[in-house]
């Protein structure tokens, strides 16, 4: 049982959990593209202004799929593509592996 972010207790059975550093390399489980600028607040567009961005879930060997912003060329998005995850500033970010 692995969660992200680290949880103190297991959400299924309540047992105590220990922290584990997750692998960085995973595969894209699924994705979408946010085509329209989200409402503000709470969205803060980047300094260069809003551009459509991809989000999805990256499946890691530890048995967890982590939600991440996908910093990849949109036409390259494909389920199963290898990605490298980084913790980012709160929301994990992935680049093509």
């Amino acid at each position: 049982m692995t969660t992200y972010p680290a949880a103190e207790r297991c959400p299924r059975c309540g047992a105590e959990l220990r922290e584990l550093e997750l692998s960085r390399r995973g595969l894209l489980w699924s994705w979408t593209v946010q085509r329209h600028q989200p409402k503000s607040p709470p969205y803060e567009p980047p300094a260069a202004g809003f551009a459509p961005f991809a989000v999805g879930y990256v499946e890691l060997p530890e048995g967890v799929r982590v939600a991440a912003v996908l910093d990849v060329e949109l036409p390259t998005l494909a389920i199963g593509m290898p990605l490298l995850l980084a913790a980012g500033d709160g929301v994990p970010r992935a680049v093509a592996a």
């Binding site: 593209v33 946010q34 085509r35 989200p38």
Partner: protein, 382 residues
């Protein structure tokens, strides 16, 4: 204990000057008239709204009779939770005639939830992940991949919604659209385009439930009396995929919709094969497709062929979302679950006008689903 639908009514869903509470009062009065009784005969009421106020304050307009009026706040399952509470009130002997009402009025545009309300780090809001359409895009993207379903099939489902909406006087979107226009309407969250999505909206729906003989609308000899055979509400179990999830487990995922549907079928003593008309949550076209399989109406992947064959059209083997669903009616959260039941009541009674399923059908099913992972299903028969 048999629970009868004595009265059922909904308002016109669509942008208007009416408040959510105005919609609610209108729906309740129409449901009472349909049942042939006055407000003073109602022994208990359960109702709710996500963002249009407290349902129990409606007594100021409906009549200060002193009845117990419980507010229900269960997101998209508000209507279903009101319904199950009303059924239990009759079953326990609390009251013989009970009202269930749901209403809402949302501002235009997408819902704008805050991460802290969902237990998420503020960064999920700052970085633009608090958008519900992303969840639907991600979930259907994987589903299309896993089960060989095309985006064109999504467009056909939405096309059906607008076609049925055009036949539903109280629907919001009443202009038919073609699959090509739907595919061409601009991506919102890939692979979903604008016209594949419902919009937050406004409206109300009300049901007057009664023990047999307790209301004229539930009296013997009133033609086709509709029975509420079961209602089941479930929240998510571990391992489901829900909106605003920073992570999900690997492997096969649980489904709260599957849980609620199975519970409703078991309590009613029937299976999906016996259902002759169904209303399932169509937040977007892909949701209708996935929910049909999750509720047990077909195998995963069979939708590709079934949609192409017209299986879910008004004249098909299992008419689905016969009033145009959330896509054509909009999504006033508190009302949708009860709107679905009102539609099934009309279909079973044979009063669905231009959108009447031939027969009329004798067994109907409703399914509603929403954040944070809640589903309500009901079985009705005549």
């Amino acid at each position: 204990m048999t629970v009868l639908v004595a009265g059922a009514a909904r308002t016109v869903f669509g942008r208007s000057a009416a408040s959510g509470r105005d919609h609610a009062v209108r729906a309740v009065r129409a449901a009472l008239a349909d049942a042939g009784i006055g407000w003073d005969r109602v022994g208990a009421a359960f109702g709710g709204s996500d963002s249009a106020g407290n349902a129990d304050t409606l007594v100021a307009e409906l009549g200060l009779t002193g009845l117990p009026f419980v507010n229900v706040k269960n997101g998209c399952a508000t209507g279903g939770s009101a319904l199950v509470s009303a059924v239990n009130a009759i079953g326990s002997g609390m009251a013989e005639v009970v009202l269930a009402v749901g209403f809402d009025k949302h501002p235009a545009g997408a819902f704008d939830p805050r991460p802290e309300d969902w237990g998420l780090d503020a960064a999920y809001g700052r970085d633009g992940l608090m958008v519900t359409t992303q969840f639907f895009g991600i979930k259907i993207q994987r589903y299309l991949h896993d089960h060989g379903i095309s985006a064109h099939t999504l467009a056909l489902v939405a096309e059906k919604a607008y076609r049925n909406g055009a036949l539903t006087p109280q629907a919001w979107r009443r202009t038919p659209l073609t699959a090509a226009e739907i595919l061409d309407s601009g991506l919102v969250s890939d692979p979903l385009t604008r016209f594949m999505f419902c919009s937050p909206g406004e409206g109300a729906a009300a049901l007057v439930l009664a023990a047999p003989g307790a209301a004229p609308g539930a009296a013997p000899g009133t033609g086709r009396r509709v029975r509420l055979d079961s209602v089941a509400v479930r929240s998510r179990r571990f391992g489901s995929f829900e909106v605003f999830s920073p992570w999900i487990p690997a492997g096969e995922l649980a489904s709260v919709s599957a849980d609620a549907a199975a519970a409703a079928f078991e309590a009613a003593g029937i299976g999906p094969a016996e259902v002759q008309v169904a209303q399932v949550q169509d937040t977007e076209a892909g949701a209708e497709i996935m929910h049909l399989a999750e509720c047990g109406f077909c195998d995963h992947g069979a939708q590709q062929r079934l949609v192409a064959e017209g299986a879910f059209e008004l004249g098909g083997v299992l008419p689905v979302n016969t009033d145009g669903g959330c896509i054509a009616n909009g999504e006033p959260i508190g009302a949708s679950g009860l709107r679905q039941v009102v539609e099934v009541v009309h279909q079973l009674r044979g009063t669905a006008g231009e959108r009447q399923v031939p027969g009329p059908p004798s067994v109907g099913f409703t399914h509603v689903y929403g954040a944070p992972g809640v589903s309500a299903c009901a079985v009705l028969s005549c």
